[in-house]
Symmetry: C2
Subunit: 415 residues, 2 copies
């Protein structure tokens, strides 16, 4: 049971946008037992699209196409689908009514001829209702094969996948069960980890596949199994994970599929009834943004100060000016003072503070580019550590933010 994803649009091929749609679609398909064989990004160009359709049809049962459904001249997907299916475009009354209604509601003006074209669909297609936009989804069958065309706007595509596409695939195709389990480890490199668990890896059943996914300070181990019996697969993979755990007890972080530090910390704080606040300098709001990206963060997150300018550390947080002049703004002492000040001004049990230089140039201090001090305030006191995260601005900010959450997580566990 294979699918292929084809994204249409020159903007992807010239690197103007990153294709985030394919990862979303692939994840949703995996959840219902459909494997994605290949993802291809092709140009807004008739022959190229036709060739991609042909190749995908040979390899897969389901072909999902995104993009190229706008009303403007550069969008040619619909015409090309008609050519491939030897079909013609006809006006769909329900789509036309929907487009008219959207224009009335949001633009307070009548629909134009250009927008009317959004209601044209291949005569043999089933229309998939796009509640969030004017371009409908389209479902076309060719024997056992199904082609599905969706708009490229992520918000609209997501709605269509969840509301229309997934239920129809579940209805039409018999599918196996695919199980992915991810174990997150931290603090040990990919190759050292591989050596440590080599004999366990060699003893895995042949239908269980292991992958190593290294990322800033963490290595994720992904176990994948595919079969017909959900219960058997679940129990076999669970058994393997239980065998693995004693081998990695010192570096084991989480076995949750989506167990990021933000989520795990949030759950721990909510359970404890404890609160958190952040005082950021070099990370510039990144830590607050990560924490508040989790729905329900308001249960434990009191707030954050980004004290980017030195003066803001004094005025807003109340850090002692003399402490800053004595030790410099990028120092252990200032990081710890910021963490304690944040506990006070936000009335929070736990706090994170960062001060450092993310580059590219030196800022208010003489500290080397990449130097970051991270302090964690807890009900028992304050701890801090010094790091150098290299000379790549974005990477320094990301590494410091991840490390700060890791340090906080450890302090919460040791409470």
């Amino acid at each position: 049971m294979f699918a292929e994803i084809i994204t249409i649009g020159d903007e992807i091929l010239i690197g103007q946008i990153v294709d985030t749609n394919s990862a979303f679609i692939a994840k949703q398909l995996n959840l219902i037992g459909v494997s994605v064989y290949q993802i291809s990004s092709v140009q807004d160009e008739r022959e190229h699209i036709l060739q991609a359709f042909k190749e995908a049809e040979e390899r897969a049962d389901i072909v999902i196409i995104t993009g190229g459904l706008g009303p403007t001249k550069d969008d040619i997907t619909k015409h090309t689908i008609c050519e491939y299916f030897q079909d013609e475009l006809v006006e769909d009354a329900s789509v036309l009514a929907h487009v008219e209604q959207l224009f009335k509601k949001y633009f307070a003006r009548p629909i134009s001829d250009l927008n009317k074209k959004q209601a044209l669909v291949p005569s043999r297609s089933t229309v998939l209702h796009n509640q969030f936009g004017t371009a409908p989804g389209m479902w076309l069958e060719k024997g056992d094969k199904t082609f599905i065309s969706l708009p490229g706007v992520p918000f609209e595509m997501k709605g269509l996948i969840q509301e229309e596409v997934i239920p129809r695939i579940q209805n039409k195709y018999k599918r196996p069960y695919i199980l992915h389990k991810t174990i997150i480890t931290y603090g040990l490199g990919e190759s050292a980890l591989a050596e440590r668990i080599e004999s366990w890896e060699d003893s895995l059943p042949s239908f269980v596949k292991l992958a190593y996914l290294p990322n800033v300070g963490k290595v994720r181990l992904r176990l994948t199994a595919k079969g017909t019996d959900k219960d058997i697969l679940d129990s076999i993979v669970e058994e393997q994970i239980e065998k693995l755990k004693p081998l990695i007890s010192d570096i084991f972080f989480s076995a949750e599929e989506e167990g990021s530090f933000e989520v795990v910390i949030g759950n721990l704080l909510a359970e404890m009834g404890a609160t958190l606040a952040v005082a950021e300098s070099c990370t510039g709001g990144k830590i607050a943004e990560m924490l508040t990206s989790i729905p329900g963060a308001s249960r434990y997150f009191n707030g954050s100060v980004v004290s980017y300018a030195t003066q803001a550390k004094i005025d807003v947080l109340g850090v002692d000016e003399q402490l800053i002049s004595k030790h410099s703004v990028v120092s252990k002492q200032v990081a710890e003072a910021m963490a304690q000040a944040a506990q006070k001004v936000f009335k929070a049990h736990y706090t994170i503070a960062t001060t450092g230089n993310a580059g590219p140039k030196k800022g208010d201090s003489d500290a080397d580019v990449g130097t970051v001090f991270i302090a964690i305030g807890t009900p028992k006191g304050v701890i801090s550590e010094e790091f150098n995260f290299g000379n790549h601005r974005e990477r320094v900010i990301n590494k410091a933010s991840n490390k700060a959450l890791e340090m906080l997580w450890k302090e919460i566990l040791e409470k």
Copy 2:
């Protein structure tokens, strides 16, 4: 002059990670006149990789492959390249010395047998030095065609593309000149914009291609031209843009290739010697994060308070408690008070304040999910506006952050 990009790794096909490498590579290739014909993501599976190599070789002059170069068992790219080129792996002394040195420096331990494998390369390949990691890049030629294999870790891949791959392509191939110019407009939908500029679009020379790229509140118009004479292309495209400008003067934002609001605002503030601070509630640090992602933001950005909890608005910003109880925390009055409070505590000329409910549930107020008040503090006073950005948490945060920067930009221009 075409290239294809092949990314290898099951993690992309199951939707565990988004492929950001391809966009980076495509952008760098375009800058030197190499068009990307197709991007394909394939599985860590021998036959599939061989098939992808074959298809790409038929269509393109240059094939760039990323991923599958780790030392662990799931990484098979190197062996598969050998099979495709009927070559064998040999140990490269310079790579071995580099890996040994990295281990000594960062892990303070000797290199293991597993890591030694990183020094194996196809005998006919030219090694591309990876200063940031243990997996070398590889350059292989087959007649006029070139295959380039790079590690999938973005940081390492980027270094190799810039330092090794681009100079070698420039050296080996004669390339045309590709020009992309993007005009950013705001506040008018894609189809209304298309109708307004239709006669201009129809009059474009045939070798100038126009694309519409709609995004949260903005539509980008991208003009692309390809040819041999840089000066002629530049002047023709420039001429077309000059003809376009009067048609869109009321919605014209910027003609810069990378002219995001953050960059443009930063440049304006730096020129004026003015400063900026932010008081965020529902946007949770996103606006500060966007502003500080720009190198040099410390010239004008004083800082930010994320007053997520209502109490933090009172304690940290000093917003009047009675004002909040009278009008509710999600209100025009509180947004304006936050903007003014931020001017005071951060001693800033300009401020942005947001208060609202990003969802998924109602928070400290009765406001509907999606309701956001944005206020802009300026040296002349404070303005504010109410919005409803829908019921999708991530989208509400993004839309509110973009809109806030747009409002600030207009206020700065009208000073």
